[in-house]
Structure formats: C-alpha cells, structure tokens
C-alpha cells in the first residue's frame, strides 16, 4: 500500500518552512529557508514577497526528497502564515508593487491617530472585533493607496490585488497571472479590520471608513476547504487549508471545544481561547477573532491575548545585558536563587499589548535593593512571562465566563521547566505540553488533511494529540496573591512614561 502524507507550509516572520506529516501526525521531514528583513526607516519592517515565493519553490521539493517519497504521495497542502503582513501586487504581471509591509511595522501610527479621531471610528471594534491599531492590515492598505501615485484608480479598476501571505502563495501556486485564485481564509480576513465578524464578509462601512476599494480584496473562504489544485511547484496537489499562524497553533493543539486554550511562547506570546460559535466581545482588553471554520460548518471564534515581549526579554538579557551566553541558561541562572528577592521586571519595551494596550508604557525594573543579584533578575525575567500570562487568562475568564481549567502550551520557551512550573503556579491550573512542538505546522496540516478526508473528523485528530509533559500547580495561595499584587503594582509603574507627541 502506498503511504500518503500531508504537507504544511508555514510562512513565518523570519522564515518559510515545509513540514511533511504522516497519518499519526508525526513529523517526517522538515525544510526551511530564512528571508531577509528590510528596515528602510525606523519603525518600518518589510519583506520581499518574491524572495519568499522563490524560497517556497526551493524548499517544497526538498521536503519531498528528504522524506524519500513522490509528489503523488502528498495528498494535500495546508498553509499557515504570519498574520496582518500586507502585500499589493499587479494582477496582470504578478509583480508586487513594493515590498510587503510586515505586522511589526508602525509607519501607520499617525494615520491611525487621524482615523481614530473620526466620530464613526467606534464602529471599527464593534464590526471587526479588533481595536483600531497599527498592528492590523487595513491602515497599511490605506497608507499604500495614499503614498503611491495612481494606485487608487488602478485598485478600483481591479488591476491591483491585496493579500496577506497565504493569498500571495495560493495565487502563485494556482497559476499566478495565468488563472491564479485570489482568496483568503476567515482567520486571516478577521485580522484586516475590514471583515464583519458576524457575517464573515467584507463590510461596506469598514471599506468606506478605511477607503479601501472592494475590487482589490480576495474572496473570503473557510479555513478548511479544497480551494483548488496547485499548477506550479507542487503540480496536481490539492490546497486544502489556510490559517493565520496562531489560529493554526490552536488547531494543531486540537482546542476544538469552547473553553479550550493554548499559549504559544516565542519572542512574544499568543494566548487563544476557543469561545464556540458566537464571537465574544471583549470588555477586558482582548481581541475577538475567528479561530477557524471547517468547510460549511459555522465558524468557531476565539478570544486572543497577544503579549508583545516574553522570549524577547530573555534575548535582551542575553544580548543586551550579556548576563547569559544562551537563552536556555536563564533557567540555570534563575535556579541559583530561591525566589525573586522582591524584584520585578515589566518588559514594556514598546508599550504593553493585552490586556493593557498602553503604547506609552515603557519597561521598568522595580524592587531593586543591594540584595538583588543577577540570579534574582533571571527569576524576574521568567516570572514576567508567567504574570503576563496570568493577566491575559484573568481577562479571558472575565470575558468568556468560562474558567480555564488547563493550559496547553507550545513554542521554544516550553523547554524551560522552571518557567512552565511557574506558569502552572501562578495560574493555579495544570500546564500541558504536547508531543509535537511544531503546532503551527501541524495545525495547517490537520486542517488540510481534514478537507480532503485524509483524517475523518476532529475526534480523529484529537486522538493524535499526546501529552509530552505536564506541570501541576504547587504554590501557597497566599503567596500567589501577594506576588500577583506586587506584579500588578509593578505594571502600574510602567504606565505613562512616554510623553504625548505635540
């Protein structure tokens, strides 16, 4: 019998990866290629979309070769992608108008301030579920339209197409200028500020508000559906899924039931909670977003708490302060002491994301005494990730009315046992790590496999999920409350540092 496999493409912020999975959800081969980060001005971050496409042309066949299989054994492709990164390209030639504007880019700050000052701006959060912020795609499209002569007219005539990275890859895989499919999925569309979260359609009022012509937008489709068949790179293979990377991780962690949550710990961290078929409007500083939509079934929604700086604080400890030689050594250093010695670090390097959304906040270290050593600082670095998670979880519980009972974790920082124990301690719930750490890629593969019947249903996917490690809470409740109070007071001290612009 011929074995069949699913390929996932993870188009991430720093690299593009192809991973082939077998029917048990086990990793068979991995190929990866980084792309250049362009920083043309302070606050600007760009990617060359052509470079990314060429990288995919290279690594996809390599992954098949490395697995020692044939193209005909790939039953479907699933795509996960960096979210909110914005690209415009020429429909006729397939050439991008300029480099893609990456999600970290803050060139739209003053544009967003101007938009927010308009009376109808309160509609944005109501319809899209997201606060009006530079983080999302619509202000970037507007910026491109305002700053490229003649572009608006061409966009209105449908000569120029907009897409996030999954749209760009699908359009190219299905033929590019020769009949390429221009589409996006509901999770990616939910990050543009242009989609009505209830109808899952582009919203006329939001398009008006941002001044974005409808003709340039891709068609919105479910996350899991056979969109078409690739004609290039992987000719003949069905494209079965697309999801934003954090939603793909939610899917890969098999958080299919309301109340199930995962947190991916990387440079930043992203906690997503499945809230079921109804979008839950946040009154506690969280984003409302689409979790996934399987075929023609109703969409599943999620609450999301993005935390800007978690692993990045460890990197700063290593590169900025030089107190450790490698990131994992933070645990070794932290274990040289019993506790934080009364010291707390709030890493508001560029303001704070969820649940505070304070762009004027800046980082603080509080509780310094002559007693504090680098060991205590290392503790405070790890605890900052744990307490930031706690604040997001508290907001989730308050918004959803569901008390989180267990947290599934993934990402590079899950190798840090002290941190994982600390998170279990401060949340007072078990923290569980799955056996496949590559949950973003796995989620995209699962979604695609589901679309083509490689896996029968969500229950079948759940059976592939296995626990690799578990940390149980073990902290005195009084101490937990006292420490949490200290953390909250430390966070308050980070607020209001940057003075408003004139």
């Amino acid at each position: 019998m011929v074995m069949r496999y699913v390929m996932s493409i993870d188009q991430g912020t720093t690299s593009t990866r192809c991973i082939i999975f077998d029917q048990q959800g086990r990793l068979v081969s991995v190929t990866q290629r980084e792309h250049r980060q362009h920083f043309p001005r302070p606050g600007w971050v760009e990617h060359d979309a052509v470079e990314i496409w060429r990288n995919l042309e290279r690594i996809a066949p390599q992954a098949i070769k490395q697995a020692g299989i044939g193209l005909d054994q790939i039953t479907a492709i699933g795509i996960a992608n960096q979210r909110e990164t914005t690209l415009l390209w020429d429909r006729r030639t397939g050439v991008p108008l300029r480099r893609a504007i990456v999600w970290q880019d803050t060139r739209t700050t003053s544009l967003v301030d101007d938009l927010a000052a308009r009376p109808e701006s309160s509609m944005v959060q109501k319809r899209s579920g997201l606060p009006l912020a530079t983080y999302f795609s619509a202000p970037r499209i507007r910026w491109l339209l305002d700053n490229t002569p003649g572009l608006r007219e061409r966009a209105e005539r449908g000569e120029v197409l907009f897409g996030t990275m999954e749209s760009w890859l699908i359009w190219n895989l299905t033929g590019g200028p020769n009949g390429g499919l221009h589409l996006t999925d509901v999770t990616n569309a939910s990050r543009t500020l242009l989609m009505d979260l209830a109808t899952l359609e582009w919203d006329a009022d939001l398009l008006d508000f941002f001044g974005v012509p409808r003709a340039m937008l891709p068609q919105i489709r479910p996350s899991t559906e056979t969109y078409g068949v690739a004609s290039r790179v992987l000719p003949g293979v069905r494209i079965g899924a697309a999801l934003g990377d954090q939603q793909a991780a939610l899917f890969g962690q098999t958080c299919f039931a309301p109340g199930e949550a995962k947190c991916t710990y990387g440079t930043g961290s992203f906690l997503l909670l499945n809230t079921g078929n109804e979008p839950v409007r946040s009154s506690h500083g969280l984003l409302t977003t689409v979790g996934y939509q399987v075929g023609d079934q109703p969409a599943m929604y999620a609450l999301e708490g993005p935390i800007a700086v978690t692993g990045a604080l460890v990197q700063w400890f290593r590169d900025g302060l030089g107190l450790i030689n490698s990131a994992p050594e933070i645990e070794t250093l932290a274990r040289t002491v019993e506790d934080n010695g009364g010291c707390y670090i709030v890493p508001a390097f560029a303001g704070l994301f969820a649940p505070h959304w304070r762009s004027e906040a800046r980082g603080v270290i509080v509780g310094l005494t002559s007693y504090i050593t680098k060991g205590h600082l290392a503790r405070a670095v790890l605890e900052a990730t744990a307490w930031q998670t706690r604040q997001v979880v508290d907001a989730m519980n308050a918004d959803s009315g569901l008390a989180m009972r267990t947290l599934k974790v993934d990402g590079g920082m899950t190798a840090d046992n002290l941190l994982m124990q600390n998170i279990a301690d401060v949340l007072d719930v078990p923290v569980v790590r799955p056996m496949v750490a590559e949950t973003v890629s796995l989620g995209a593969a699962y979604a695609a496999g589901l679309a083509v019947g490689y896996w029968p249903d969500l229950e079948g996917l759940r059976r592939n999920w296995h626990r690799a490690a578990q940390w149980l809470p073990n902290m005195d409740p009084e101490r937990r409350e006292a420490e949490y109070d200290n953390w909250c007071r430390a966070v308050e001290r980070s607020f209001g540092w940057m003075k408003p612009r004139d």
């Binding site: 086990r26 030689n325 490698s326 840090d416 056996m435 690799a468 578990q470």
Partner: protein, 255 residues
C-alpha cells in the same frame, strides 16, 4: 612513540599569551609574538574559538580567553541548553518508540535527569526532571560511565548497591559491561533497577566527540525486550538515531 603534536603546542602558547596580556590581542600581534605565519595563527585561533577557548570581539576583531576556560571541568554544556537543543528529537523518539524518553547527565556520581518526555499513551505520569538515579543500574548511567573515565573511577572498588538480583554489583563485571558498551555504542539494562522494567540508552556527543549526556527509553520489560529477553533491535535503532541527531545538532560531526 610519536613526538609532541606541534599544533597543540602552538595552541597552548596562544592561550598562555592571551592569559598574560592585559587586554585583547589582534591576530597580527599574536603571530609576531610567537613567530608564526599570520595564516597559521589565524587557523589556530579559529579552532580555539570554535571550542570556546578564545573569544573574538565583534567590534575590533581582537581575541581574548573564552568564558569556557573559566569553568573548564565544571560544566561543558549547560543542562538547560542540552534540553532545549534535544527537545524535538526527544519528542520524535517518544512518538516513534511509544515509550517514555529521558536525557541524563552526570551529577556527583549519579545520573541527573535533565529532560523527560511522557510515554505517549496519555496515562497519568509525573515529570521526573531533576531526580537522581544510580549510574550502574540504569542504561543512561551505564552510557555515561562507559564514556567518562573519571565518573567510572569515582565508583571505587567496593561492591555496588544491589536494587534487584540482576543489578551488576561486582566492579570487574561492570568494567566488562562498560567495555562492551563502548564497543557497540549503546547500553541496556534489563530489570537491573526495578523488577519488570528495562531501558536502552545511547550517548549524546558534542564538539570533538565528547559525551555530554545520554538519551534513552525505558518501560515495561516485555515492551523493551523481545521474547528472548534481549533489547528490541528496532528500539535500539530509534534510540541511537535520535541520540546521533542531537549530537549532529551539537556539532559532533563524526557521529
């Protein structure tokens, strides 16, 4: 009998020179001081940098003694870094073998468990990271003993503790077992620690082939061993492949 190795003598001279100087030295200064061609000095410095004995300043390109030299002998590879570098391969080993996976290093004559992946059957299991196990009665420990002459000398000559009637307690018998582990490149224990349990382990090597840890599976003897009570050959292959993959990532090119 072979004579002294010239490149090691020169490397030692570079280290002495750097230790004696108050600031950093450039490659030219080092070459002139030791009467070496510039290219030779550069090659030696590159190798010393690779093993962490010297460090190069990014801004000036000059050299100084590496931080590794300061704690030479205490820790070669940080255990938390070892876990971080091995985690994907340990997961894959657990998924393939269906057994729990542990990674161990030597701590004060015992095996310190630095990483643990649950057996993938979702039964209740407890994380064993941080616990200590005897060297001579575990597969991980026997691997570490086999490739660390110091640790094996530290066991002494007296009889070893018996955990079951199959535990190796005579030092001469242990020495024979370790020799055969060195020969085949992996170790097993069958009911030597706990009745009904067995384990298989292989060495994790870093730069230059130095063994920095051991990685293995353990579980019920009827799953780990075949009908004749011998370690299952498929499991041995999984364990050795996984340990080799980690070693390659750590820079042990020949394994």
């Amino acid at each position: 009998m072979p004579g002294p190795v010239q490149s090691i003598q020169r490397g030692a001279a570079i280290l002495r020179l750097l230790a004696r100087s108050s600031g950093r030295l450039g490659v030219g200064e080092i070459a002139t001081s030791l009467g070496l061609p510039r290219g030779t000095a550069h090659g030696l410095l590159r190798t010393l940098q690779l093993v962490g004995f010297v460090e190069q300043d990014d801004a000036t390109g000059k050299y100084q003694l590496g931080a590794t030299l300061l704690h030479l002998g205490t820790s070669y590879l940080d255990v938390n870094e070892l876990r971080s570098r091995a985690i994907n391969w340990a997961d894959a080993l657990a998924a393939r073998s269906g057994e729990s996976v542990k990674i161990g290093t030597v701590l004060d004559g015992q095996v310190l468990v630095v990483h643990h992946v649950f057996r993938p059957d979702d039964t209740l299991q407890t994380l064993d990271v941080g616990s200590l196990m005897p060297m001579h009665a575990t597969a991980l420990g026997k691997v570490l003993l086999a490739f660390d002459a110091g640790a094996s000398a530290a066991l002494g000559n007296g009889p070893l503790d018996a955990y079951t009637r199959r535990t190796i307690v005579a030092t001469r018998e242990l020495a024979r077992a370790l020799a055969s582990i060195r020969e085949v490149g992996w170790a097993a224990q069958v009911e030597e620690m706990t009745v009904g349990e067995a384990g298989i382990a292989a060495p994790i090597r870093g730069h230059g082939g130095l063994v920095v840890g051991a990685m293995g599976v353990s579980g019920a003897v009827e799953r780990i061993c075949d009908a004749r009570g011998q370690p299952n050959t498929a499991l041995v292959t999984f364990v050795r492949d996984a340990a080799r993959a980690v070693s390659r990532d750590l820079g042990a090119s020949r394994w």
